[in-house]
């Protein structure tokens, strides 16, 4: 009995991955491509050489930071989809520092990262303020602020920050040397960025698990009314959760323009905000699972252009795989919740828990 239930549990945990691969395989077969070769291409595209591995690691840094941030707002029950905008604002603040503060590398980089944190936190808190005081649902507030941030970035690049030889979509002039985050040898990964991302995981883990703040966010996320009645100050908690997420996303924005592009570009957020939404969902809002899942997504992102080179398939197939993993996980989670509820209802029928009176009245 016990062994079978544990076996079922393991199978249920693996089921979404199998389901996603089954679905992607079906698409590959339908497209007339040998599935085995396609998966091999993605894998080798991501891990075949130190360069590729370092690319995948570099790509997962912003995913980790934003995924952690979203885990915080999700824990508080807030559907924060404004991460794209928070990345952009972080990058904007960092770019301002890079262009205006002509100091040596250490103070400039420090200031840039802090500015990114500040910009993202302000933009995040704005979504929280709109929600608390303006009664704007955070999904609409977040999406709206994403567009505003995108507009702001383009205006800055095409007006005050335009290069001497004319503005283009390729962004501002490259930053002065001190504003570039140092990379590891000839590789494209910046060790400092990786360290910051992993530090964020540890800090968020302890904040959510070991502090009143984390406990109050969790209570709010699970039952807002009960948490309120128990005396949780909901307004400051919502605002700090949004600001914390924004700070992490802003840091990601600063890292992207300093370590990856060395300039500000219109596409600085690059869809990382939405991709990290998937990371947070897949991790079940638990920070400790975010790095692994972010690496998985980053590897698919880095590896799938290989499909186009070697097999003449569209590289968006990687996106299909990512999307179907998330859908399959949510589907299986939904089924499990349904099963659990049905089992609980049977228990109630057996007289283990009384029904509430409201149902009878």
């Amino acid at each position: 009995m016990k062994i079978t239930s544990r076996l079922i549990n393991v199978l249920l945990n693996l089921a979404p991955i199998l389901l996603a691969f089954l679905f992607t395989t079906l698409i590959l077969v339908a497209a007339g491509a040998p599935p085995g070769e396609a998966y091999r291409n993605i894998l080798s595209g991501a891990f075949e050489s130190p360069e590729k591995i370092s690319d995948a690691v570099a790509a997962c840094v912003p995913l980790i930071l934003c995924g952690i941030g979203m885990s915080i707002t999700f824990t508080a029950g807030q559907w924060n989809v404004g991460v794209e905008g928070q990345i952009i604002l972080g990058a904007v603040f960092a770019t301002w520092v890079a262009r205006n503060v002509l100091w040596p590398q250490v103070p400039v980089l420090t200031l840039m990262l802090l500015a990114g944190v500040l910009g993202g936190a302000l933009w995040g808190a704005l979504a929280g303020l709109l929600k608390v005081y303006g009664k704007v649902h955070e999904i609409f507030g977040g999406l709206g602020l994403n567009y505003v941030a995108q507009g702001l970035a383009i205006w800055l690049i095409f007006n005050p920050w335009k290069p001497a030889d004319g503005a283009t979509m390729s962004g501002t002039d490259p930053f002065p040397d001190p504003a570039w985050m140092p990379r590891l040898g000839h590789l494209r990964v910046a060790p400092l960025a990786v360290i910051l991302a992993l530090a964020a995981v540890v800090v968020a883990y302890f904040l959510l698990r070991g502090t009143r703040w984390g406990l109050e966010l969790k209570a709010m996320g699970k039952n807002f009314r009960s948490a309120f009645m128990l005396g949780v100050p909901s307004t400051p908690r919502i605002l700090t959760a949004f600001a914390a997420c924004g700070a992490l996303a802003g840091l990601a924005g600063a890292i992207r323009c300093s370590a990856r592009y060395g300039r500000m570009i219109p596409e600085i957020s690059g869809g990382q905000g939405y991709l990290s939404l998937l990371v947070a969902l897949l991790a079940g809002y638990r920070p400790q699972w975010v790095p692994l899942i972010a690496l998985f997504f980053a590897a698919i992102g880095v590896g799938s252009p290989r499909l186009e080179l070697n097999m003449h398939l569209d590289s968006s197939l990687g996106g299909v795989l990512e999307g179907s993993v998330v859908l399959a996980v949510m589907l299986v989670t939904g089924w499990r919740a349904l099963l659990a509820r049905r089992r609980a209802r049977q228990d109630v029928g057996a007289g283990l828990a009384p029904a509430s009176e409201e149902e009878i009245a």
Binding site: G210, T211, R212, W213, L215, E216, K218, A219, K222, N223, R225, S226, A227, F228, M229, L230, G231, V232, P233, V348, G349, G351, L352, A353, P354, A355, S356, E357, E358, E359, I360, A361
Partner: protein, 498 residues
């Protein structure tokens, strides 16, 4: 059309909401269905109108057995129900709501619908603007729209669940005239679900009384009021003797407080509550007692008057300021607004320490939780999730979460759904607090509990508040009269007014 309900049974877990109820609805008759909250009236009517399937028993229409899997199937056989909260679409216009009911083609005929709405409305002197949005309507007007919709669908049996709550006096007169016309002139049957004796007496031809899921009596109207009261509330033993407690200074002082809400406004209440005093709030659900209790914790907006706590004016203050002033509020929906499902008992105790340190020492918290669990006899472990506890243990956990040294404790239904033993334990805890000088104000639907546990009782009826009665000198019958909206000194035999 003659409808028979035979031996209807409906259980929710161990609770028997309907335990073998039979009722026959004759055409041309207005049937009253009377009973306290939770007596099973609404459940019975939801079974009849297809909103839920009974677990046992049969429904017969003109002798033919029927089974309704949905309200749609019931209305096709001519049975329609008007719910306590009208089931309309507030964001849509009156005409669209009306059309949605019966014109189910891809392209509804709006002109025909408009004409029909106008004609039906004129027939009953309902003045409904087809182009008004339902949000702009009063509850009375929304009811009128629902009635027209049911009639357009060809309802022969019309069920109204507590239809007079929240409507104006002229609307009530009009509603009653309409119902009489539907029954007496158009030969339909009407079921009038209510807990108001006066109204049943005024309107109905027959009445059936339910108590705890069972039929306690049936009668022709007019019927002696004391017989109805007895059927509704039952007879009970004289209240137990209780030791008097020395009351301290006034802790809570309400002066001319008015609390508005969409349905009902509680007007001009003045009430002092002293340290160590227990005040029971009686009344049928939705009579204003919950609004009043919530206002005492800053959870409802007050438009006039003052709320003083320990001599300090807290009118308009936030719930958190009330908490900091030593007030606690214990809601009836334990898992809805008391406890947080998904959190453990330890997490709850840690959460309830509002001014605890920022970093939580979980080992120490676990030990404190274990200690509280032992002290409050909660059947559960520190790591148990609260939703896994039984109702009685959830209530124990809620009591264990209340901080010590409270000034004022406000409770909704402190023992609802609990067995006798748990209920007695809960009151032991509460009375111990009262000896420590805490003032207690609680809502209950259990008349025995009110009489036995309170020093004073205040009765709510339709937002009006009675003078406070000393519990010692009050009987179940007197309380039953007041709750049902009758003056105690009224004549025993009410006359039927037409």
């Amino acid at each position: 059309m003659r409808v028979e309900l035979v031996d209807i049974r409906k259980y929710f877990g161990p609770v028997r909401a309907n335990d073998g109820v039979s009722l026959t609805l004759e055409p041309g008759t207005i049937h009253g269905l009377l009973g306290e909250n939770g007596a099973g009236k609404t459940t019975l009517m939801k079974c009849l109108s297809g909103y839920q399937a009974p677990d046992g028993g049969a429904i017969r229409v003109d002798g033919q057995p029927v089974f309704f899997a949905s309200p749609d199937q019931a209305i096709q056989r001519g049975i329609g129900m008007l719910h306590q909260d009208p089931l309309d679409f507030p964001q849509m216009r009156v005409l669209d709501n009306f059309l949605l009911a019966f014109d189910r083609r891809m392209l509804p005929n709006r002109r025909r619908g408009r004409a029909m709405l106008r004609e039906l409305g004129a027939h009953f002197q309902f003045d409904l603007d087809p182009d008004a949005e339902v949000t702009s309507l009063t509850i009375g007007e929304r009811q009128q729209l629902e009635i027209l919709r049911l009639l357009a669908l060809g309802a022969q049996v019309i069920i109204l669940d507590e239809p007079t709550t929240g409507i104006s006096a002229p609307q009530k007169v009009q509603l009653f005239a309409t119902l009489r016309r539907l029954a007496e002139e158009e030969d339909r049957s009407v079921v009038f679900v209510s807990h108001k004796l006066e109204e049943v007496d005024q309107l109905c031809h027959r009445v059936m009384v339910l108590r705890r899921g069972k039929v306690t009596g049936e009668a022709e109207v007019p019927c002696p009021v004391d017989r109805l009261v007895e059927m509704m509330f039952g007879r009970s033993l004289p209240p137990a003797h209780r030791a008097p407690v020395d009351l301290g200074p006034v802790i809570l002082q309400l002066e001319g407080v008015t609390i508005p809400s969409y349905r009902l406004t509680v007007r001009n209440v003045s009430l002092p509550v002293r340290a160590g005093e227990v005040v029971g709030l009686a009344g049928l659900e939705g009579s204003g007692q919950r609004l009043f209790l919530r206002a005492c914790a800053g959870l409802e907006r007050v438009t006039s008057g003052r709320i003083m706590l320990d001599g300090r004016d807290l009118t308009g203050a936030s719930y958190r300021r009330f908490l900091e002033a030593g007030v606690a509020y214990s809601p009836a929906g334990r898992l809805e607004e008391g406890l947080v499902g998904g959190l453990t008992l330890t997490e709850h105790f840690a959460l309830a320490e509002r001014n605890g340190p920022f970093f939580i020492d979980w080992t120490a918290a676990q030990e404190r939780a274990a200690e509280r669990i032992r002290h409050f006899n909660v059947v559960g472990q520190p790591e148990s999730l609260v939703e896994a506890l039984s109702g009685g243990n959830q209530q124990r956990a809620l009591l264990a979460l209340l901080p010590p040294g409270l000034r004022l404790l406000l409770m909704e239904h402190p023992t609802r759904g609990l067995d006798v033993e748990s209920a007695r334990w809960v009151w032991q805890q509460l009375l111990a607090r009262r000896e420590g000088g805490t003032a207690i104000v609680f809502i209950s639907a259990d008349l025995d509990e009110l009489l036995e546990r309170s020093d004073r009782i205040v009765v709510f009826f339709g937002g009006r508040v009675s003078a406070s009665l000393p519990a010692r000198d009050t009987t179940v019958e007197q309380l039953g009269y007041l709750i049902a909206g009758k003056e105690v000194r009224n004549t025993q035999h009410a006359t039927r007014s037409t």
